[in-house]
Symmetry: D2
Subunit: 327 residues, 4 copies
Amino acid sequence: MNTFGKIFRISIFGESHGINIGVVIDGVPAGLLIDNKDFAIDLGRRKSGAKGTTSRQEEDMPNIVSGVFNDHTTGAPVTILFSNSNVDSKDYDSTEEFPRPGHADFVASKKFKGFEDYRGGGHFSGRITLGLVVAGVIAKKIISPIKIESKILEAGGDANIEKAVEKALREKDSIGGIIQCTARNMPIGIGEPFFDSLESVLSHIIFSIPAIKGIEFGTGFAAAKMKGSEHNDCYVDINGKTRTNNAGGINGGISNGNDLVFRVVVKPTSSILQTQKTMNFKTGKMATLNIAGRHDACIALRMPVITEAATAIAIVDLLMLDKARSI
Amino acid sequence: MNTFGKIFRISIFGESHGINIGVVIDGVPAGLLIDNKDFAIDLGRRKSGAKGTTSRQEEDMPNIVSGVFNDHTTGAPVTILFSNSNVDSKDYDSTEEFPRPGHADFVASKKFKGFEDYRGGGHFSGRITLGLVVAGVIAKKIISPIKIESKILEAGGDANIEKAVEKALREKDSIGGIIQCTARNMPIGIGEPFFDSLESVLSHIIFSIPAIKGIEFGTGFAAAKMKGSEHNDCYVDINGKTRTNNAGGINGGISNGNDLVFRVVVKPTSSILQTQKTMNFKTGKMATLNIAGRHDACIALRMPVITEAATAIAIVDLLMLDKARSI
Amino acid sequence: MNTFGKIFRISIFGESHGINIGVVIDGVPAGLLIDNKDFAIDLGRRKSGAKGTTSRQEEDMPNIVSGVFNDHTTGAPVTILFSNSNVDSKDYDSTEEFPRPGHADFVASKKFKGFEDYRGGGHFSGRITLGLVVAGVIAKKIISPIKIESKILEAGGDANIEKAVEKALREKDSIGGIIQCTARNMPIGIGEPFFDSLESVLSHIIFSIPAIKGIEFGTGFAAAKMKGSEHNDCYVDINGKTRTNNAGGINGGISNGNDLVFRVVVKPTSSILQTQKTMNFKTGKMATLNIAGRHDACIALRMPVITEAATAIAIVDLLMLDKARSI
Amino acid sequence: MNTFGKIFRISIFGESHGINIGVVIDGVPAGLLIDNKDFAIDLGRRKSGAKGTTSRQEEDMPNIVSGVFNDHTTGAPVTILFSNSNVDSKDYDSTEEFPRPGHADFVASKKFKGFEDYRGGGHFSGRITLGLVVAGVIAKKIISPIKIESKILEAGGDANIEKAVEKALREKDSIGGIIQCTARNMPIGIGEPFFDSLESVLSHIIFSIPAIKGIEFGTGFAAAKMKGSEHNDCYVDINGKTRTNNAGGINGGISNGNDLVFRVVVKPTSSILQTQKTMNFKTGKMATLNIAGRHDACIALRMPVITEAATAIAIVDLLMLDKARSI
């Protein structure tokens, strides 16, 4: 389903080579100052162009077609459209015969019975995250003074990202990476257990982002080797600040006022420039596959701003849920 | 919020020392053969009693009070109650002054303004997972022949679980662990991107389970160090079977017919028998805390069946969503 | 589906002759003073016993099994159970052969493939409204100072209710009626267009109540014969009070601060003591049917408190939604 | 909230004088043949131009920007945009000082704190129903062979619609009307009690349509004066056909296979060309108001196709819910 959120609700739509990619953002408070320029910074961070990102260049100019009047949100749904101009569909034949390994091609053709728009990954394209980023910009405004910051910790197993990307490009291969996201100035009390714990809601939206295959909060997987006496964070002031932050700012599914900290793993891009072995699904025989099109060698490079957006969207909805009950 | 699912919907309720723990399961197909004995095996696996689990002994007898007639589901909501009999509330004073490190005590008292039922962890108690387990039993019946199996891979960093637990007991400490969950006979096409990817829905319910702090699908975090040429799973037959399963059975958020595989990390239990340092929130001075009550030294021991239940519940709902569109 | 509401969410369950009828109420603010006695007045108003209501006498004693601690709501789900003690199931054979005209028997046996609990109407019984009434009591507390009041305007076409009921009893027949519901002290701004207009949400829950077949707001159906110059309510003060209230307190789907006023029609009870013609669904031949069991001659008599409860539940959820966006 | 439906989900957006009006339709099965021409008939029926409808002439050309590929639905969200070209915003000053009686102006300015787009009614404009109509066209395709037909029964209390409209135009006034909607070839079993009865879901979406103030199913309000022996519909064949259809095709909230029949009342348009008395909300003194702009004298004329669309949307979602549980 293409809608996320209970109160601050975003609905995304569009395909990689379709007419428009976009998002409808419902539940936005009225009176928020909005300007196309507000989106420029985050869209710029998401944009391709750096070494290791696709050569497809799109203007990514957001067009606000509803919900904003006299530069302020009206309380009605905010709809933002993007055009797909730099489209080169000739590279894409139906992927039914040769679904690309690691891609959604195979499952999409089964689930949607061959009617899916396979050009450029269609609705599965990372381009869909444009809507996420602009919704994130609005969410960030609302949750202020909470401040979210994501950064890439490593790529291809190397903390020297540039070096790792260059190596991947040389090898006509792709690499994964790890992103860390931190939210500062968190209030206490965000998260709605049992089923809408802060981890639940965050991981739900985070795993919507293509290529993400794992998430861990605080010390995460390292906690498996820790003792309770080590993992328990000791309170050091009456605001609930703790000496360590092994919990990543969350106890019992609820924010505890310390920094929210989590990491995600981004798998290496599936599209690589090397020849790959694969099945020819028409003949049932093994064959070789060369992927054309323009692709990212390290999609993780574009992930920090996308994970920030997802985090802001999850937090604003949980903030609103918490507020709702305070009548 | 205490309801999960869009069609197969479960609503859980209850507190550790309240009258009843329970679950309402809505959206169950009519005509399913149900018997109290069906629940016995999974409830037994969840039960305490083994070394490393709490000494609190509850009968955990499920009482079906609605939705079953002549031993079959009726299509109306199935409600299952459990009694809390072995309750020892004298150990629990208000936790406002001394919230236990690592527990929900502090956030609960802030979020619910001191009105929370703090006895035995109240609504945050692991006891709430009883409802999850019985709902999982029903979900497993519906999704047959899909077969879900969870096991503990390591505890306290040791693959010899028993040894690790004994060490923790000796040290009056607690340990975490890693659980791996596998679903076999998965159909192709389960998962509803963009926002309800199979990873999204699974992680959402998995992070509802107390003490879980991370999840990874397929090779998970190890993918950060892999190249695309290594991570891409090569198709080897026309049903979509792949040679490797780095994707954990999911591409583009949709099941690809290979085994669904994921791992979760369980943090060490927060309640330990050692004296801990903590803040006295009334005086604002550091103090020492001794936790009474009965607790698990390794809560991970009870997690396999709980993660199976959560997985079955997520899968049945996604199966129903996929079916819904086939009209 | 058996759950209503986005934030203040109620899940009902149970069957007429099952073990328990009940409700789980999620999203209740913490700190609300609750006492079993709070429910007595509204449950008493719903109760049978008056002339024209069924002779089945149930104690209707609410048993709060979760979510309340030290007489206050905790913020966790409030679960309230009722026992079915005065059950006489011998009157109920399977209704597949002779589904009662006007009842859910026929559709239930088709939809649930013969597995439905047909005793006493099963999950379709008016007895299910017990959960609605107690949830309404809690909702009324939260929305204070809004004050909801329902009354029966007419029964069997007669404004002398008692006379009409006596006539129906003499004739071994049943009668319908009209209920009017008014909510005073309404704030301005309740309702979330486009799809969650105040009328939408109210009518949604109101039509859950068995036997209701129509609803109209303000002048309602009479508006079909009015001119705009007559129907438009003229503002008379700067708080938005209007001279007339043809709109029933709602413009554009949003409360305007005037009294919320609507009427519903209750159809005559389907179960009548007269012999009826019907189809024998096994033989396909016409036959005669005599309905045993205990039934209401005028179910409308019990509707005022049930419609009040439904209204309070709808309003509290919309109040919370409106509040949510004010962060 | 601007999204409706659980599986077939529509999200509407736009304002009367904004850039685009539109709808995102999620949950559409893949493989449905779609063509812009499919929308022409229903959009034409909705269009203004007849006597009694506004003189604002819009092309109402649907622009499908996502979810359709090679003329078939892809399974991804279908987004359809409309442009607002014939916009004359000079007529619309802020309505805060003089909110139009009967309109949403007053409540919108309170709820959205003066930030609402007041031009042409903004998001409250009947123009928003464009999205409903095109979503209805798709829904009608899916639910085939169910056939929905709405017609206007009376306007201004007169069954001679044309005469009534001419009289209203002469009097510079507006009139209401009654619409009857019928769905034929209904399957048995549509509707999900307790809370998602067929009446509940239908009324929910029907009351989203501006100007509708009442709905009744089958004999509706007339049932208040009937006896059970009259109202009960007698079964006459083993498919559940009944001699009469007082229930309007619904028992216990579930379709019984007979025609679904309901009527709605449309209030007279609030905007009339006569001078009206109103409050000046700045001075607190009574004043006179002349409404400029272009308006419908009888908005009921455009309602048949809109109610058909709403009905189709409600039915398709309930059909999908029923199907979902048949796994």
